[in-house]
């Protein structure tokens, strides 16, 4: 008979401490790491990954939230492609992005470029431009809505009337409403973009500028040959961030549009507002989920484009 295995007679506590002693430093580290990650992993699985799959799953259902779920495969997507409102909304959404992004990036670049040359009161001016970024979109929407009112209330129309220009309907017009809502969104984002641009311009080594001044390069040349090429990663970052921001526009439209949200006649309605209405006004959960999948795919393509461009540039 073999003698008893030493250790068996020890109490559990001693066994545990002995088990820990026998671990290598590497194993101990791994144990601690997983312990630290336990709650976060649970969080990401339950609050991020599971809902992502659930969104795909719900998009294959016909379901009004209260009744029975009925599996209908890809029918929601087929319905979506036949829905005229969807195409109108998709065009609106891209209008916000394709017009809003270039305008805001151009404005913020020009401001940053000149701000960079101002030395006196530089920080105060920068702060003033930054303040709109801190405001609540919903609160500012009210201010802008007021500015757009007809005479004698709205300041924009009052100012137009001084110059004898006809009154503009702004938010009530099919042609102007989308741009009237885009304006405060552009306005609110400028401060952030200016600061990122300034950080980018500041990061250009001073020697580059000195070399070009020896060569006798003019302002435009310095801008074209030194500043803009050096800012390429910064510009890419801002293009992607603000494109995603405009494609997801919601707060301003919800709080500003005339008649009903997204009005007049859906002319300002973006994708996220359509999702909101489909899910929480009409309770077409499956249809709304299909719309979110479309949004996800659009944003995914943009992110992948950014990644591939970044790779190409850093190589």
């Amino acid at each position: 008979m073999r003698p008893g295995i030493p250790g068996c007679s020890l109490s559990d506590k001693k066994m545990l401490s002995r088990f820990l002693e026998r671990q290598t430093i590497g194993q101990k580290q791994a144990l601690t790491a997983w312990l630290f990650l336990l709650i976060p992993i649970l969080f990401y699985v339950i609050i991020r990954f599971y809902p992502t799959f659930e969104a795909f799953f719900v998009s294959t259902l016909k379901w009004n939230l209260l009744g029975k779920q009925k599996f209908i495969g890809f029918k929601n997507y087929i319905k979506l492609f036949e829905d005229e409102e969807f195409w109108l909304v998709l065009i609106n959404t891209f209008k916000y992005a394709l017009i809003g992004v270039p305008i805001s990036l151009l404005f913020s670049f020009l401001i940053a470029y000149y701000l960079n040359e101002i030395t006196f009161g530089h920080e105060t001016i920068r702060a003033l431009y930054f303040i709109p970024f801190l405001t609540t979109a919903v609160a500012m929407a009210w201010v802008w809505r007021w500015l757009y009112q007809p005479v004698p209330i709205g300041y924009f129309n009052i100012i137009l009337s001084w110059f004898g220009i006809a009154q503009q309907p702004f938010l009530k017009s099919l042609d102007q409403a989308l741009y009237s809502i885009m304006a405060p969104a552009v306005w609110a984002g400028l401060g952030f973009q200016i600061i990122i641009y300034l950080a980018g311009i500041r990061a250009i080594p001073q020697s580059h500028f000195e070399a070009s001044s020896i060569d006798g390069a003019g302002r435009i040349q310095v801008l074209r040959e030194i500043i803009l090429p050096a800012l390429r990663p910064t510009i890419l970052f801002l293009v992607v961030i603000s494109t995603i921001g405009f494609l997801r526009i919601f707060d301003q439209v919800y709080s500003m549009s005339a008649d009903s949200a997204g009005g007049p006649l859906n002319s300002t309605k973006p994708l996220v507002l359509m999702i909101y209405e489909a899910a929480f006004d009409e309770f077409k959960m499956g249809y709304a989920a299909a719309l979110t999948v479309v949004l996800f795919l659009i944003l995914l393509v943009i992110s992948l484009l950014q990644l591939s461009l970044m790779r190409r540039w850093t190589r």
Binding site: G26, Q29, A30, A33, W34, F36, L37, I39, P40, I41, F43, Y44, I47, R48, F49, Y50, P51, T52, E54, A55, L65, A127, Y129, F130, I131, P132, L134, T135, T136, A137, V138, A139, M140, W142, V143, W146, L147, P152, I153, I158, W187, L190, I195, I196, A199, A203, F237, R248, F250, Y254, V272, I275, Y276, A279, F280, A289, T292, L295, F296, L299
Partner: protein, 251 residues
């Protein structure tokens, strides 16, 4: 640039016919609008709600994003890369896609119209984890090893040695998260039905029907919503701008 904000500010001190004059400085400044908002609406409750949720959620993000960022930067273990990539990949998922499942979840577990329901989606963030990991990677290992030699527990090393060394990154993350939470709209709009649980943006949006033509009242409410963030900005200006630059460069 700040003209709309100035109009908002000046109108909040006006009453009667003066509301529609273009003057920046009111002739007869008055506080009636403020008294009305604070007395007649639930604005104070909404402010308390917004504050509680933003503060708790910010602390949660600092704690967990800090802990996870540190673990992913400073421990070596099998599966580390997978965990990191998985967390990073959540950045690709737009909030709007998760809103319907979150709503279903909240309805099942009775989280509708609760603080927890408003706050739970933002208790940890992929962005914050990524940012903190970047900063912890620059921390010298010797420091951590020395503390281990002295018999410190791993948790104490993280909390008392590593975290204080990345305070600039933590404050940037805190300001970002707080601001994002303070102005968040779509999720609180969906998850709350009871006006007693509205956050400030949802409350202001609910003015839509009630005070539609009382512009001075709405301007005053907008002012009250903006003032706290302006104060935060004035005091923390350097941190905020540095933080945005950091985030912009690292992200």
């Amino acid at each position: 640039m700040i003209t709309p904000i100035l109009f908002m500010l000046s109108t909040s001190f006006k009453e009667g016919a003066e509301v529609y004059s273009l003057t920046i400085f009111p002739e007869k400044p008055t506080l009636v609008n403020y008294l009305f908002i604070l007395g007649e609406s639930k604005f104070i409750i909404w402010t308390v709600n917004s504050l509680i949720i933003a503060v708790l959620s910010t602390f949660s993000v600092l704690f967990f994003d800090g802990l996870v960022g540190y673990t992913l930067a400073k421990f070596s273990f099998r599966g580390r890369e997978i965990v990191f990539i998985a967390i990073l990949s959540t950045l690709m998922i737009p909030t709007e896609m998760l809103i319907i499942p979150w709503y279903m979840m909240s309805r099942t577990f009775g989280w509708l119209d609760t603080y927890w329901g408003i706050a739970f989606p933002g208790l940890m963030t992929g962005f914050g984890t990524f940012l903190m990991r970047q900063f912890f990677m620059n921390l010298p290992d010797e420091l951590i090893d020395a503390a281990r030699m002295d018999g410190w527990s791993e948790f104490a090393i993280w909390l008392r040695i590593a975290m204080p060394l990345v305070i600039p990154a933590l404050s940037a993350l805190a300001i970002f998260h707080f601001l994002g939470n303070w102005t968040a709209f779509i999720w609180p709009l969906i998850v709350t039905n009871d006006p007693d649980l509205y956050t400030i943006p949802v409350g202001i949006a609910s003015f839509n029907g009630e005070f539609q033509s009382d512009w001075e009242i709405v301007m005053t409410a907008s002012c009250l919503a903006t003032i706290p963030t302006l104060f935060v900005f004035i005091f923390l200006q350097k941190f905020i701008i540095k933080g945005i630059m950091l985030a912009g460069l690292k992200g």
